[in-house]
């Protein structure tokens, strides 16, 4: 009986000692810490320091806010991203809504949260969300209106104006500036408002030639006014349009240069590959190489140095000149090689007609190549010499190049328009005749059961190249017709009407027509590259590189390389012979 009692007593005593020890420690620490320690996280009001949110109606806020911003510097960085939206005044409630979310109101005597009401959020969203969407932003999800209390909710108080104001309609988003506005702005700026003077005289921006010592005295007239010159730049086009013209011409001329340079280089490394009737394409590309070079020279030298004369207010476009070297250089590059390319196109269509329509072989056509070269280089030479002799070179106020016919309708019609029309017409006739012959041959061959894949492929390529040339050429002719038809009225309007009236009546050239003309002048050079776009080109270049690299090292492999070259030559010759044989075979069928 005594033993259990003693054991129980021992257990209780031990337990008591444990408890006393532990809780004495706790009690002492409690006393040491002091009862006044306020560890609860009370909201601390601080003055609003975010510049955007000062003066919105309350002055104190607390941090962190609902977006976990620790201080007002972080708030300022983010909320100021909305400043452009606030400035545009898409909604009178936006600023208050943003600030009540980012810098929430802090009241000393009201400790519950006090967010903006749902109605404030919806008004701001209705006014500003369409504008944000135009810029590619959605209304932020974490500022959705559904999570905010309704006005009048007794459990959750919120902030809103007591009287409901009419919502401001979303302001119309400013549309892109219409095409005519820059011209109007430039015109309005250059011409102070004054009564519209309809008397014809040499007024700005035209350049009067007053001194008798001036080289152009009694030699130039604009709009039938004597001693009146056009300014350096086209007066109907704005500065933005002039800048874009430079970019436009630069873009296409560089592309043309790259494409034609590639074509010519490919021809030079593998001449055997390009025979008549396709060979004229190479010479056509070479001509466009130099035409693009002419435009590039203008880009490097600048509009004023190439196409203009004089200084300051007296600067005017070049008239009937043969003197300046830059002007002559640009003229020769663009006019001579441009006309040569047209003649090479005629040669191409003629040789194509001989091959397809008259059944000539490529050897027979090649036999006349000297005559082709004579015609292609001699005719433009004669015309260029004539232009220079007649002092018909003048400046182009739009493109900034020197050409013929810019200031003289006779020059434009005689030296530019007429030759282009003749060449286009002649070449088209030859091509059409060739196509008719090919279609006839194809139908005959098909009746014989022979495959016509190769012939059809050739027809497709010729047809494609025809379209790639005739369409741009036709468009250039159309633009020139438009220009020569309306230019007198444009010049007369400059002399006899004021800027506001010109703009109101829509006088003046169409900017797009000129851009189209310059593009079409150069696009043929770009598209002429399609003729060399094939696996053969890669083979040609690979062979060229393989032949070139071993030559540097004088080693026994040279002989091996030579053998390989001989083999390649043999293969090439054999490949060259096969088409001839095939073509020869088709002749008897056609004959039959």
């Amino acid at each position: 009986m005594r033993k259990p009692a003693d054991e129980h007593h021992f257990t209780m005593e031990t337990s008591g000692m444990h408890l006393v020890g532990f809780w004495l420690h706790v009690l002492l620490l409690f006393q040491l810490s002091g009862l006044g320690d306020s560890a609860s996280k009370d909201i601390v009001c601080e003055p609003i320091t975010v510049p955007m949110c000062k003066g919105i109606g309350y002055n104190h806020t607390y941090m962190p806010n609902q977006f976990n911003h620790d201080n007002q510097d972080e708030v300022g960085l983010e909320v100021h991203q909305f400043w452009p939206l606030v400035r545009i005044h898409c909604s009178p409630d936006l600023l208050f809504f943003l600030c009540s979310m980012y810098t929430p109101i802090c009241l000393q005597d009201y400790k519950k949260p006090l967010p903006p009401c749902r109605s404030v959020c919806e008004r701001a969203k209705r006014g500003c969300s369409p504008l944000m969407i135009q810029y590619g932003f959605e209304w932020p999800e974490r500022m959705s209106c559904e999570q905010l209390p309704m006005l009048g909710d007794t459990d959750r108080l919120c902030m809103d104006r007591n009287s409901s104001e009419t919502t401001t309609l979303s302001p119309p988003f400013p549309k892109p500036t219409p095409k005519g506005t820059p011209r109007h702005r430039a015109t309005a700026k250059s011409a102070p408002p004054q009564k519209c003077d309809r008397e014809c005289h040499c007024r700005g921006p035209l350049v009067p030639i007053k001194k008798e010592a001036h080289p152009l005295h009694n030699r130039v007239n604009t709009g039938s006014l004597p001693n009146c010159a056009l300014p350096c730049h086209q007066p109907y086009f704005s500065q933005d349009e002039r800048t874009f013209t430079t970019f436009w011409i630069g873009l296409w001329s560089v592309l043309c240069f790259v494409s034609t340079f590639t074509t010519v280089a490919t021809f030079l490394i593998d001449m055997e590959r390009f025979k008549y009737p396709e060979r004229p394409i190479i010479f056509l590309a070479a001509c466009y190489l130099f035409v693009s070079l002419g435009y590039i020279v203008r880009l490097l030298a600048g509009h004023e140095r190439v196409a203009c004369e004089g200084t300051g207010d007296q600067q005017h476009i070049l008239y009937d000149t043969t003197g300046p070297a830059l002007c002559t250089l640009v003229f020769l590059l663009i006019y001579f090689f441009g006309m040569a390319s047209s003649i090479w196109w005629v040669v191409l269509s003629f040789t194509w007609f001989l091959a397809a329509g008259m059944k000539w072989g490529n050897e027979a056509i090649a036999g006349y190549s000297q005559y082709f070269h004579l015609a292609a280089w001699l005719v433009p030479s004669v015309k260029s010499i004539a232009v220079l002799a007649l002092s018909s070179v003048d400046g182009d106020p739009v493109a900034g190049i020197c050409y013929v016919g810019n200031q003289s309708l006779e020059g434009l019609r005689g030296f530019v328009l007429a030759p282009l029309v003749v060449y286009l017409f002649t070449g088209s006739l030859f091509l059409l005749a060739g196509f008719v012959s090919l279609f006839r041959i194809r139908s005959v061959i098909k009746q014989g059961g022979t495959k016509t894949d190769k012939l059809e492929k050739l027809m497709i390529r010729i047809g494609l190249f025809t379209v790639l040339y005739t369409v741009p050429a036709t468009i250039v002719v159309a633009c020139l017709v438009y220009e020569q038809h309306y230019r007198p009225s444009w010049e007369r309007a400059l002399a006899c009407s004021c800027p506001s009236e010109r703009q109101r009546l829509g006088m003046g050239p169409d900017y797009a027509v000129f851009m189209l003309k310059y593009f079409m002048c150069l696009v043929v050079g770009i598209t002429s590259g399609v003729w060399i776009w094939s696996g053969k080109t890669l083979e040609s270049w690979r062979r060229f590189i393989a032949r070139y690299v071993p030559c540097r090292t004088r080693k026994p492999p040279v002989s091996a390389s030579s053998m390989y070259s001989e083999a390649s030559t043999a293969l090439t010759a054999r490949a060259g012979t096969a088409p001839t044989g095939t073509y020869h075979k088709s002749a008897p069928s056609s004959h039959v």
Partner: protein, 350 residues
């Protein structure tokens, strides 16, 4: 006449030097030996606890500052209960003899005190009040949740560090004994520590143009301690009565039909008293003078709270703020409402 002022200056100089020397000596003594004096004067600490106390004086300060928080939470959880987690300042320990008995209430107190210490230390770490701990170093790089990818940033609460320290400090004494009560305390302490870790919130900050949330920086933060208190209160309601197994190494349920306790359950050995009357032996202070709810059906009803002894009713006038309205811009105006309510108080035992 000339000699007198010089003499006064001389004596003043000597006096000033003497006083300064005395002050310096006092501060020197306090600064170097303060923590040692404090730790040595806490009775009941074992050597390991005193050693930790001397090594980490700031930790001890933080623990002391946090006691009020978890005691307040305990009193909140049991505000409608006969036993309301009251403390008695006049006794040597906070809860009197209540903790002598291995009851449910003792289990809850041990659990919530451990949880409170973990909570306090973690908070002190994150706020930079302690020198040898900081934010959770494991939270680096990127991760993702239901809303998408995010980068770790900010200061994630380093709960594991606090749990480790709390375990070493509080459990040091219990591990020296291997009796049933020590095992019970170890179990409930661990349950309390783990409870804090269950309530970690991922909080994020958005970075993006015009309020969008293209990039998020997130950190883990402890939830409010109330959630831990609510959780432990549920564990108290479902606490399991256990007995020692025959090997003395663990628990088994006191009733075969009940489940065995897992690591998250609270365990106790003895049934609780009814806490109706003042009883020195059981540590019960009785419910005399407690406020009860006449219309309630729960533990705070007058019938249950007063143990059938009846209650006194008195009328009290109370002023509250009501009908709050927001006035543009910007103030909140409330009306003062007077209301008279009946307050019922349990009769004391006769």
């Amino acid at each position: 006449m000339n000699f007198l002022p010089n003499g006064i200056c001389f004596y003043l100089s000597v006096a000033i030097c003497w006083f300064s020397s005395r002050v310096d000596a006092s501060w020197w003594y306090m600064g170097t030996l303060g923590s040692q004096v404090m730790c040595d004067n806490i009775p009941g600490l074992i050597n390991k606890q005193r050693q930790l106390c001397r090594q980490h004086p700031k930790v001890m300060q933080a623990i002391g500052a946090g006691i009020k928080n978890w005691i307040g939470e305990c009193q909140h959880q049991f505000r409608t209960h006969r036993w309301n987690c009251n403390t008695m300042a006049r006794e040597h320990n906070l809860f009197g003899r209540l903790l002598h008995r291995s009851s449910r209430e003792a289990a809850f107190v041990y659990a919530i005190s451990s949880a409170g210490m973990v909570y306090t230390l973690t908070r002190a770490c994150s706020q930079g009040e302690l020198e040898n701990c900081s934010c959770d170093p494991g939270k680096k790089g990127s991760s993702r949740d239901a809303k998408g990818a995010f980068d770790w940033g900010g200061c994630s609460d380093h709960v594991d560090h606090a749990i480790k320290f709390t375990q070493v400090f509080i459990d040091a004494k219990e591990r020296k004994e291997r009796d049933a009560r020590a095992l019970m305390n170890l179990h409930n302490n661990r349950a309390g520590r783990k409870a804090v870790k269950r309530f970690m919130n991922l909080e994020c900050k958005c970075h993006g143009v015009s309020g969008s949330c293209n990039v998020r920086t997130c950190w883990l933060a402890m939830a409010d301690f109330r959630q831990t208190g609510d959780y432990l209160r549920k564990k108290y309601n479902n606490a399991i009565q256990v007995v020692m197994n025959q090997y003395g190494t663990g628990f088994t349920s006191a009733y075969r039909m009940l489940k065995r306790p897992n690591k998250n359950d609270l365990v106790y050995f003895e049934d609780s008293p009814d806490y109706c009357i003042w009883d020195h032996e059981s540590g019960s202070v009785g419910t005399g003078g407690r406020v009860c709810n006449r219309t309630s059906r729960g533990t705070d009803s007058c019938e249950v709270m007063c143990c059938g002894r009846g209650y006194d009713t008195s009328r009290v006038s109370r002023t509250t703020k009501c009908e709050c309205k927001f006035q543009w811009c910007c103030a909140v105006h409330c009306r003062d409402c007077q209301e008279e309510v009946d307050v019922h108080t349990c009769k004391t035992q006769s």
